[in-house]
Amino acid sequence: MELKDKLLSSFMAFEEAFDVDTDIHQLRSDAIKEFETLGFPSKKDEAWKYTSLNSVLKHDYSVFPNKEDAIDYKDIKKYLIHDIDSYKLIFIDGIYSSHLSQTTHDKIDVCLMSSALSKSKYKPIIENYFNKIVPKNSGLNALNTAFSKEGAFIHIHDNKSADMPIQIINFSTGNESALLVQPRNLIVVGENSQVQIIERHQSLTDHPVFTNSVTEVFVEKRAIVDYYKIQNDRHSASLIDNTFVEQKEESYCFMHTFSFGGKLTRNNLNFYQKGERSESTLKGITIIEDKQHVDHNTLVHHTSPNCESHQDYKGIFAENSTGVFNGRVLVDKEAQKINAFQSNNNILLDDKATINSKPQLEIFADDVKCSHGCTIGQLDEESLFYMRSRGIPLKEARALLMYAFANNVMESVKIPEIKKRITHQIALKLGVNLGFDL
C-alpha cells in the first residue's frame, strides 16, 4: 500500500483512540481531507523542485509505535546540552517520557501538547493559537495537523522570563522497523517575556525514520525568543521541519539551524512580522557529505513598517551531498522603511557536490532597504598558502578556513555550551583537532 493510502486508512483508528475536544476533532477531520486532496509534494511543485521525497516515502512506516520504556538517561545524555540547567521535554517514538523530562508550571507552562489539547485549563490558549498560522496549502502540514497529538506545549505568561533554556528532544528507536513521527509543538511567548529553546530530532537506531514536524511560535509584544535547531541525525533518518513564527510589535526572534546530519532534511521556516519594529534573525550552518541533502526554504513576510530581518546561511558541501537554499522575502505595500538582508554563502569541496541557491525578493513597498547575495566557491588558495607558509598543514588549514567561514553565524549564539558543542561538532565533521574553540 502506498504511504498516503496507509495514512488515510489509519486515520479513523487514530481518531478513536484519542479523546479530544470536538473543535480539535473537527480540525483533524478537515486536515485529513486536505491531505487527501494535496498529498505529498512532488518535484512538480516549484517549492520542491530540488528536493525529492521519493526515497523517503518508499518505506512502509509504522504510524502507531509501541511505548518504549527501555531508554535510560545515559543512552541519550550525549544528545542533550547536558552541562546546563534546563527544562526538558523528551519524547521517544513520539511518546512523552516522564522519567527523562523535567517540566514546570511556575508561570511558564512547559508541558505536553496532549494535555493542552484535552484539558480545559489550556482551552483559551489552544483556541487562540493552535493551528492559526499554518497555511492551508501544504499536504505535509495537513498531515501533521490530522495526526496532531503529542509534542511540546510551552506557554510563557506575560512579563515572565523562562529561568533556564527548554530542550525539546524527539528520539526515535524505530524498534518496529520504519517509523513515521509527527511532533506538533506550540510555543506562546507572552508580552515582555523571554525564552530560549533548543530543539533536536535524533534517531537511536539505523531503522528508517521519517519525521514530519510542525511548530508554531507566537512572539507577543516586546517578547524575545532565542531558538536553536540542532540537526545531526543518522543517515537513516529524514526530517521535514515546518516552523511558523508570528511576531508582534518590538519583538525579537533569533533562529539558528545547525544541519550536520540526516539523510534528507527540509526546513520550511516561515516568519510573519505583524507589528512595527519587530526583528527576525535567521541563521544556519550546513555541513554535509556522502549523499546527504539539506534544503532551507525560508520565508520572511514583512507586513508592518520599521521592521528588520537578517538571514545568513552558510553551507559546506562535500562528496555527493546536495544543498538547497530558497529564501523568499515578501514586503507588503504597508511595510515601509524595513531593512531586509539575506545572504547565502556556500563552499563546494568536491566536484560532485551541488548547491541550488535561489533568493527571491518580492517588494511592494517603495521605501525599503533590501539586499540579498549568494556566493558559491572553493576555499581561497591565497589564504591556504598563507596558513601553510606558517606551518599549518593543508588539512588543518582547510579546516581552519571552513571554521572561519562558518564562524560569523556562531557569533550570535548566546548559549556558550551550544557554541562549544557546535564548534566541536564542526571540528569532528572536518576531521581535525584544532585544540581551541572559536
Partner: protein, 250 residues
C-alpha cells in the same frame, strides 16, 4: 644556509625567473632591490613553495636539502618564514588562535607535544610587547580590518613567535609610516643572530637605513644583474635602476 642555483620559474607558462643565483650564509642579511615586475616577489613565493609557480630549472637548497619537492608547510617547519607583501585577512580566526595553531603545528613536526597554554600566552605577551602591539589586537580576527602598518607589524610578530632560520621579508616596508617602519625594523634587528638570516625584498632604500644589509642585489627582468654592499643601495636610490639594466635590444 640558502643556496639558489640557476633558478628558473614560470607562472601560467610565462617565464618570470630566468636563472637566479644567490647564496645566503647563517647570520647574513641580504637585500634584493629592483623595479616593479622584475620578479622579486616571485622569488620569495617560489622559495616559500607557492604552488602556482612551476620551477622549470635550477635548484633551491636549504641547509643542503633540495626544497623543490617540499610542501609550503614542510618548508616552514624547516625554518623558512615568508612575511607577505599583502597579508591575507582571515575573518573568524583570532591572532592568538592562529598563532596557537601555527606554533603547535611546528612543534608537532618536530615530534613535540603542544605548547602549554600558559607558556604560549607568555610568549605571545613578550613578543607583542617587542612589536608594540596592543593586547586587544590579539583577540581580533587575523588581519581583518587591520591597517597596512598593523598587518606588517603582525607579520613580524608572527616571525618573532616562530623564530625562523631564514626570514624573507617581502616589501615589508611598503605602506608603513616612518614610526611603524622603525618599530618593525627594531623587531627584525632584535631577532638577528649569528644563526638567523634575513632576505629583504624591497623597492626602496629607506628600509635599509634601519635594517642594514650585508649584501645588496639588484634584480631586473628575472635575473640578478648586480651585487654589492649596502653602498649599492644608495647608488640605486640616487641614480634609479636604468644604469644597471642590461643593454636594451634596439
Amino acid at each position: 644556509m640558502l643556496k639558489i642555483k640557476n633558478l628558473q620559474a614560470n607562472i601560467e607558462d610565462k617565464e618570470i625567473l630566468k636563472g637566479i643565483n644567490l647564496e645566503i650564509n647563517p647570520g647574513e642579511v641580504h637585500a634584493i632591490m629592483g623595479p616593479n615586475g622584475s620578479g622579486k616577489s616571485t622569488l620569495s613565493s617560489v622559495i616559500a613553495g607557492k604552488e602556482e609557480y612551476t620551477m622549470t630549472g635550477g635548484e633551491i637548497l636549504f641547509e643542503g636539502e633540495d626544497l623543490s619537492e617540499l610542501d609550503p608547510e614542510e618548508r616552514a617547519h624547516k625554518g623558512i618564514f615568508l612575511s607577505f607583501q599583502y597579508p591575507v585577512e582571515i575573518p573568524g580566526v583570532s591572532v592568538t588562535n592562529f598563532m596557537k595553531a601555527s606554533i603547535n603545528a611546528h612543534r608537532k613536526a618536530q615530534g613535540l607535544a603542544d605548547m602549554p597554554a600558559k607558556d604560549l600566552l607568555k610568549m605571545i605577551r613578550d613578543k607583542s610587547e617587542l612589536l608594540e602591539i596592543d593586547r586587544k589586537f590579539l583577540s581580533r580576527s587575523l588581519n581583518q580590518g587591520f591597517s597596512g602598518g598593523e598587518k606588517k607589524r603582525n607579520e613580524i610578530f608572527q616571525m618573532a613567535m616562530l623564530n625562523p632560520k631564514l626570514a624573507i621579508l617581502d616589501e615589508t616596508d611598503s605602506g608603513l609610516d616612518i614610526d611603524a617602519l622603525k618599530v618593525v625594523a627594531n623587531g627584525v634587528n632584535k631577532l638577528r643572530s649569528a644563526d638567523n638570516s634575513v632576505l629583504l625584498i624591497t623597492h626602496y632604500q629607506r628600509l635599509l637605513d634601519y635594517i642594514v644589509p650585508d649584501f645588496v642585489h639588484v634584480m631586473v627582468d628575472g635575473k640578478i644583474v648586480k651585487s654589492g654592499t649596502k653602498e649599492l643601495a644608495y647608488e640605486l636610490e640616487e641614480r634609479g635602476y636604468d644604469w644597471v639594466k642590461p643593454e636594451k635590444t634596439v
